[in-house]
Symmetry: C2
Subunit: 374 residues, 2 copies
Amino acid sequence: MNAPGLAITRRLRSTPFSSRIEAAGVKTYTVYNHMLLPTQFRGVEEDYHHLRSAVQVWDVGCERQVELAGPDAARLAQMLTVRDLRKFEVGRCGYAPVVDDDGFLINDPVALRVADDRWWFSVSDSDVLLWAGGIARGMQLDVTVREPEVWPLAVQGPFAEDVVAAVFGESARAIRFFRFAPLEFKGHSMLVARSGWSAQGGFEIYVDDAELGGLLYDALIDAGQQYGIGPGCPNLIERIEAGLITYGTDATRSDTALEAGLLRYCSLDAPIDAIGIDALRRQRDAGVSRRICGFMIEGDRVPHQRNPWPASVGGEAVGEVTSAVWSPRLGTNVALGMLPIDHLAPGTQVVVSCTDGERVATVVDVPFPGSSQR
Amino acid sequence: MNAPGLAITRRLRSTPFSSRIEAAGVKTYTVYNHMLLPTQFRGVEEDYHHLRSAVQVWDVGCERQVELAGPDAARLAQMLTVRDLRKFEVGRCGYAPVVDDDGFLINDPVALRVADDRWWFSVSDSDVLLWAGGIARGMQLDVTVREPEVWPLAVQGPFAEDVVAAVFGESARAIRFFRFAPLEFKGHSMLVARSGWSAQGGFEIYVDDAELGGLLYDALIDAGQQYGIGPGCPNLIERIEAGLITYGTDATRSDTALEAGLLRYCSLDAPIDAIGIDALRRQRDAGVSRRICGFMIEGDRVPHQRNPWPASVGGEAVGEVTSAVWSPRLGTNVALGMLPIDHLAPGTQVVVSCTDGERVATVVDVPFPGSSQR
């Protein structure tokens, strides 16, 4: 039996880069924010080695922006996230967890202050557009909530800075981590941020013109020839090693931001009016009962994982492994999952019921050793 | 070059029926409400003939329920839709467009009143859960908004009633169109509605137990053997012929409910407090400038359509075709799209720029002749 294919229609929106990455041989897509996101080009392991050694251009147009603009934009932005935004000057971006009143995770976006009275939430896979719009409507706030036509294009890998500097000019090198600046391509200004969903370093370019976006893609590929540039995408091995969770896979609406391991982005002691912050304060004070952690899973390469694998101790199910893959660099299976707080000490052993049988797994710290080369 | 495949992970949620339909050879999936939805088994044309002549079981677990429960449930339900819900007694369901304050379509769900103070919105592909939750939060309503674990399973086709009666008992035959009743399967009560996303007649069973759902799937397949039952799914040919639009393809957030052709579900003269109803009243009074319509497109079978095809008159782009496919029964290409109001008269000709070249298309009434056999 062949694996089911993907029926692509308008509802699974293409991006300004789709024709190019399909010509380049994208092997598999996923769907993210009602949009196509590539997951594999030459193969997950080949893509991994290439990302770590060279440089890639990523079509991450599916990172949709939820724009808040107007007099109440700052107030709504702060209500949406439990991260203290008071220090976010224009030009700064950062992870900004969005939770509901009970602290359960709705999204783990990157927030960007693009102007004094204008914010973007660059969202993972849920319609924050509707959450923000519903709150604004319910409170009769003076704010416009919309999804602008912006398709991020990422350049990731050790030579990302050289490639971006070749296309946008040397000033790109001055952009600090989680900062962005307007830079020009063919006379058109675009926001360029030093950020991205890998630990290899790089940039995300917020492309706001579809036609120019295609030309930018080509220009980046041309400029990167000397560095062995090629198409790429968020890589399963690399992101597990880096400890980067995927909303919808490693954490869902059934997990709080603290259970999802996002405490460092939750400003629980700040005097801010944020939805869910009281619930998270209570959970912190009472003690979080479970949390995302890393694992090494013994044995040969694990099979493709489609659903969580139960994790047990002494025959009793205690948690689950949510993402797992073979790491050719570390010579073991690396994984992320969720365990009760009293099983989180590195070195703790659990039994994981993989699709092809039980395996012993050991809790480890994330990121995995050597995941970042920065 | 092969068509890109689909990388299935937890984030693209499987259903209680996934293992069964994959064993039955599902060829292609789409992703709908962060969940897998089959689009093809033996082939779109074979599936079409089978749906019209026999009976199919559909895994439509992706039709997620947004549940509103509590003292303010009825008030919030009515705010969410421009359809007058005052006549929705318990046991009634019906299309209930959800729009924003400007009348733009957020979703075209089916609303079910499941109890006096409990509503389900069985939603198409957008996170109404977050829209409803945001409004409830913003207004501090006394209502619980959640997505219960319910996976609809549809039985569609001319023999659907016989199959459902064989499994749930003869009382199933008494359920009227867009009504539902609790019926028992293995001692467990489930809501069974006479509804579904085809014009061939049938039922949707709101399965709220995953394990029992698998057994129900098997029981339906067993009971339907004498009627030639098989797996199926919403069918592109059948739904275009029936004039059933797809949210995200034929209408998007950029179209109002009236432009989407949903006027008959908009209770614009009812004294109800519904978000966006004033905007739709104004649009009706000023005159809608464009609307969804049907087309016959000349020539041999059109290629697979991935993005809208521009429609022009006298060389000027005036609208677009959003869904098109060859109808083996009618011997022509059938299509849905959007045109300005002064080009909507049946018989009007436009030029459609299909992926493989220009073709002449004629505006026709929908549903297409003979689409429904009820």
